[in-house]
Symmetry: C2
Subunit: 178 residues, 2 copies
Amino acid sequence: MEGSGSNRAAQRGGGRGRSRRGSEAGAISTSGAIEVGRLGEFIGYRLRRAQVWVFENFIRTLTPLDLRPAQFSTLLVIDGNPGRTQAEIAAAIGIQPPNFGALLDGLEKRGLARRSRSQSDRRSHALHLTPKGKALLDEAIKLVSAQDEQIGARLGPGGRETLLQLLEKVPGLADEMI
Amino acid sequence: MEGSGSNRAAQRGGGRGRSRRGSEAGAISTSGAIEVGRLGEFIGYRLRRAQVWVFENFIRTLTPLDLRPAQFSTLLVIDGNPGRTQAEIAAAIGIQPPNFGALLDGLEKRGLARRSRSQSDRRSHALHLTPKGKALLDEAIKLVSAQDEQIGARLGPGGRETLLQLLEKVPGLADEMI
DNA sequence: AATAATTGTTATGATTTATATCAATTATAA
DNA sequence: TTATAATTGATATAAATCATAACAATTATT
C-alpha cells in the first residue's frame, strides 16, 4: 500500500460543536467535527478505508524483514510455483514486466531468489527461491498470519468467514494483487 | 484508486495442466494455472483485490464528469461542511495540504469551488461550492450511487449491510479517504 | 529463408503521496 | 508592547508506484 491513505493528519481543527448540512449559498459549517456525509454510506468508501488501514498494518508488519508487500507476494507465489517464468509470475500478481525485473534484481541481490535460463526456451527465466529466501518467506508468513488473525478477531465469531465470502462476491481479477 | 491494481495483465502463459506445490530444491511447476497459494487466505489480500476492483470501477464511473476520486470526495465534503478551511477539509479526507492546494486550483479553474479569505483569520481560506459545483456533485452522486447499488446487489440479501458492519470493525481513520 | 511473435531489459513518462521551506498572519510569553 | 512561537497555505521538490515504448535475443510461423 504505500501510496494511499495515511496515519498522520492529526486533525488540525478540533473543537466541539455541531456543523450544519447543505450547500445553500453562504452557509457556514462552524467549528466542530467535519461531516463526511454520504461518503460514509458508499461501499467503496468503507472498503477503501478498511483496506488502507490493513495495508499500512501489513507494511509495518513486514518492515522488520525489510520486505515490501509486492516482494512478499512474489516470494510466496514463486514458492508455490517454482520454475515458472518471470512473465507468468508477474502476470499472476499483476506487476508489469519492466517493474518486475527491478523487483527481482533486489531479491536476487539479497540472495532470496534466483533466475535461471530455461533450456527449453532460452528467452525465459525460470524462478526459484533460495533456501535463504524460503526461510525469510516462512518468517514473513508467520508475521502476516499473526496480523491477519488479529484482524479476524475483531470481526467477532464467524465474522472472518462471512467477510471473506462477501468479498469473493465482489469481482477482482486474480492477477491484481499489489 | 489509482495507483494500484490494474485490468490489463492478459495472462501470457495460459494452457492447462496442474501445478505442484512446495519449494523443494529443483521442483518445477509445469504449465498450468499459477497457484497464489496461501495468499488467498489472507484478509488483506482479499480486501485489496476487492477494493482495487471497486476503485477502478469508481474511476470509470466518474470519468464522464472528468472527476477524479479525490475531487469527488472534496466536492462532497465541502458541500457537507461549507465555509470550513482548506486545512480542515484536507485533513478530513486525508490529503496533504500541498497536494490539496493543487487539487483546489483545478476545481477553482473549472468554476466548481471557490476559496475566500476568512475575515476572522486572514491566513485561512474558507471553502464553498459554486452552484455549478453543486450541480456537478449531484450528478456525480447519482452515478456513484447507481454503481454502489450494483455492487450491493451482488452481495445477496442483507449482504451489503453485513459487509458494511464488518468493515466498520476494521479500524480505519476517519481521515484517510483519498 | 523470411517474417512475425515472445521474453526480458532499458529508458522514460505519468500519477500519487510526502517532505522541506517560506511569507503572511495570528497567538503566546516576557 | 515587544519578542518569540505557532499556524495557514503556497512553492519547490523528492520518493514511490504504475505504465508505455522501443530494443536485442530467441523462438514460432509461413
